[in-house]
Symmetry: C2
């Protein structure tokens, strides 16, 4: 069954967190070789690896929820009985790497040859612009789920295509454009999506912020 945000966006349960994992005894734990992991799961694993290996401190922000009614049963945990999803006012991920402030949004599409810009919101682009203005690093990580290709696209080309849409142009970026302006990230075992390698490439020196 599909849940939707007030804006009609589909809500997908973050698997590990919200679905209680019921594991029967004597049931062998089967590994499917990480097939079918979502971009969010891959990024969470990546960030955990970065954290554990002392490389960076980057976390996903909690899903913003507007709490309306809470029940407080005696001798047990408070239960939220009524709440609503809120639109996030910023991007989903942020943190610190080599003294840089890192800020990004991650989205995937089933399209094969283009990435719809409606995956992002005006206020997210405004937020990323503010991050850049304050010498932070802002980008998006986008995934073509059919081909499992992942790209890091810095804020400035994203803004370029966003402005093209705003001035009446196409409502998406073509894959060719993303390949030209972005950086392909090859999936690996650990970390799954090594996006900091791209940051090292783009900002080799401590104060070289090219985003």
């Amino acid at each position: 069954m599909a849940f939707h945000y007030p804006n009609g966006k589909k809500f997908i349960f973050p698997k590990e967190k919200t679905q209680p994992s019921i594991k029967k005894e004597n049931q062998p734990s089967i590994s499917y070789g990480k097939r079918g992991m979502t971009l969010e799961e891959d990024l969470n694993e990546t960030n955990q690896f970065y954290l554990a290996s002392g490389k960076a401190v980057i976390h996903k922000k909690p899903t913003p929820v507007q709490i309306v009614n809470v029940d407080y049963p005696k001798r047990s945990a408070a239960v939220i009985k009524e709440a609503y999803f809120k639109q996030a006012s910023t991007t989903d991920y942020n943190g610190v790497y080599r003294g840089f402030y890192i800020d990004f949004e991650a989205k995937e599409t089933r399209n094969k040859n283009s990435f719809p810009l409606q995956n992002f919101h005006e206020h997210q682009l405004a937020h990323m612009q503010q991050v850049i203005d304050h010498k932070g690093i802002a980008f998006v990580i986008i995934r073509f789920s059919s081909s499992e290709e992942i790209f890091l696209l810095p804020y400035s080309p994203l803004r370029k295509y966003w402005d093209r849409m705003k001035s009446g142009g196409r409502k998406s970026m073509t894959k060719n454009e993303i390949m030209q302006d972005g950086y392909k990230i090859t999936l690996s075992l650990q970390p799954r999506i090594d996006y900091l390698k791209i940051i090292d490439h783009l900002c080799p020196a401590a104060d070289d912020r090219t985003f």
Copy 2:
């Protein structure tokens, strides 16, 4: 009625966000001169001011909630019917200022002469240590609600008092200790709690990270 986290911590509704503001017509909007605002409300106003005036991009993270059950009525917004408060894995506030990664937690006490260290958690101190290791700036903002005095205490003295507690010492910091190792922030009209002024004092140069 009081709600509590699973850890027994009291849950306080963030006023502006979760209580629908019902304003009757013809009812004059009365200003009480900002009396009785919580530390969180003051900091949210401060951060909004910083953002609007182009000074910094610092946001409070959403309250982490574990969603268990969502109802999706036709033609209206999804309703979360069962959810639980989760312990935050990091601090509450982070963002970017002058290229610095800023990370802090804010807490208040009704005590007059000491600040209980149980307001913080082991994993929050671990998180702040990681931030420092990656050249970010980490601190706490603490408020004595009886006297309305607010202090910025950098991570390193906080760690000192935390370690003292861990080795069997007192479970709080005295107000004198906080006055000695921290920086008093005088409440003003706008921004309410100008904590970035302290950061400017401590890190005058772009790459002078003394935290």
